[in-house]
Amino acid sequence: MITTVTLNPALDITLELDRFIPDKYLAVEKVSRIPGGKGINISKAIKAYGLDTMALGFLGGHAGHFIAEQLREYGITTNFWHIEEETRTNIIIVEHQNRTHTLMSDPGPKITKKDLERFKSIFSRVMSQSKIVALSGSLPTDVPDDIYYQLIDLARQKKVGTILDASGIPFEKGLEAKPLLAKPDLRASNNRVLNKSVDSQETAIKVAHEIVNRGIQIAVISYQDTKDVIATSEQVWLAESGDQKVVNIIGTSEAMIAGFAIKLVEEENPDMKGVIQFAMACGLASALTEEEEFTTKDDIIQCLPCIKVTRLK
């Protein structure tokens, strides 16, 4: 089973209307309520592909119950620690006339030391059922910035492979625990990681090398929406998905992580080129599918020929 961790999930409420006018009563044309958070999105992509997945993290209040119930409806197993405060809500206003997307995010709940201890106990227990665990996203307030380091260490003790997909100090501290695969979330860090700005293929390769040199087996750097550099200790690859009719960018990077997790679980000695192509196809299939819908195995297979994977070293 592939386990995912979302420490700071959110309920994404999208309100679509023709035009947003302040100080007016406005009728909303369409409302959608979707469980959000990087780990949750990874679980959704894994389940849509047809594999079992379990989602862990913190949930609280009505928003928390809604998220857990929705995930179970999707067929995802949940084992969240429920906290006292309400899970955060993101309000997204989509204005058709001006083609704007405005996101308002609340700061999120407080996590106590007791909550954190209980969560670590759950995490440690479910490792016995997991082959890979993906640790993704931002941290709620009061969670120590070495939490990913601690969780990767716990997973290693149970011989479970780890994928780290985060940004900033939690990502850099997490690297010290040597996850199996690491992907900095460059969107969340203004394209900066390890004190470097990633703005070209060259800088992406440099950063990928630096991550691999720290003992991580696979480094993935998404330096452009359609281009990724993937490095191992012996190989460097460039993956491109080309110009496609993208309809949704939410969850694309998570679908790619799901793709890596799926291949690493399904194949004992995976061929790196095949793994990269599959992971990129998962990301592309998600980008070509509306957010409320799920990509299927067939969508992914159809996207495979659109992915160009070139070995650079």
Partner: protein
């Protein structure tokens, strides 16, 4: 229908050394009446419900709940709860519990629930907890199956 298609995919559980106070809190927050007890590898070792807790603290309470003396006994129950708040789940949980495999079917689940007069069946895969199934889940699945069959019949006519 396989159990894995109808079970509640919630693997919230507690360890045997969890305090009574905490398990009551977890059940309240999760809005559930009972919870599987697992070992440190998520293998099911017991089950604890509100019923088990009350029965252990005041064995006669559930019998007199409809009589006039339930108020005085209620005060007694409240005192007992405070007294035992830090006692471990291990003292109160049911052991040797009935579980069902996720590959089994709904008829077997219904049989186990009725025959053993229980409300929850922990669902396992290789002994590890993967969900819970209750009579409510079975009824929901049966009614949905019925609706699906009716829709299929209408479509073929």
């Amino acid at each position: 229908m396989k159990i894995k298609d109808i079970m509640l995919r919630n693997t919230t559980s507690v360890l045997p050394d969890c305090h009574l106070e905490e398990v009551i809190e977890v059940m309240a927050v999760q809005r559930i009446n009972g919870i599987p007890v697992v070992d440190d590898e998520q293998r099911v070792v017991g089950f604890i419900s509100h019923h088990d807790i009350i029965k252990s603290l005041l064995p006669n309470y559930l019998g007199i709940i409809n009589s006039n003396s339930f108020i005085t006994e209620f005060i007694q129950l409240s005192k007992k709860l405070k007294e035992y708040a830090n006692h471990k789940v291990d003292e109160f949980m049911k052991r040797n519990i009935i579980t069902i495999n996720e590959e089994d079917n709904e008829v077997m689940a219904a049989d186990l629930l009725i025959r053993h007069k229980i409300h929850h069946l922990p669902v396992v895969r290789n002994g590890y907890l993967v969900g819970v199934v209750t009579m409510r889940d079975l009824l929901k699945a049966m009614i949905e199956k019925e609706e699906d069959q009716n829709n299929e019949q209408e479509e073929t006519q």
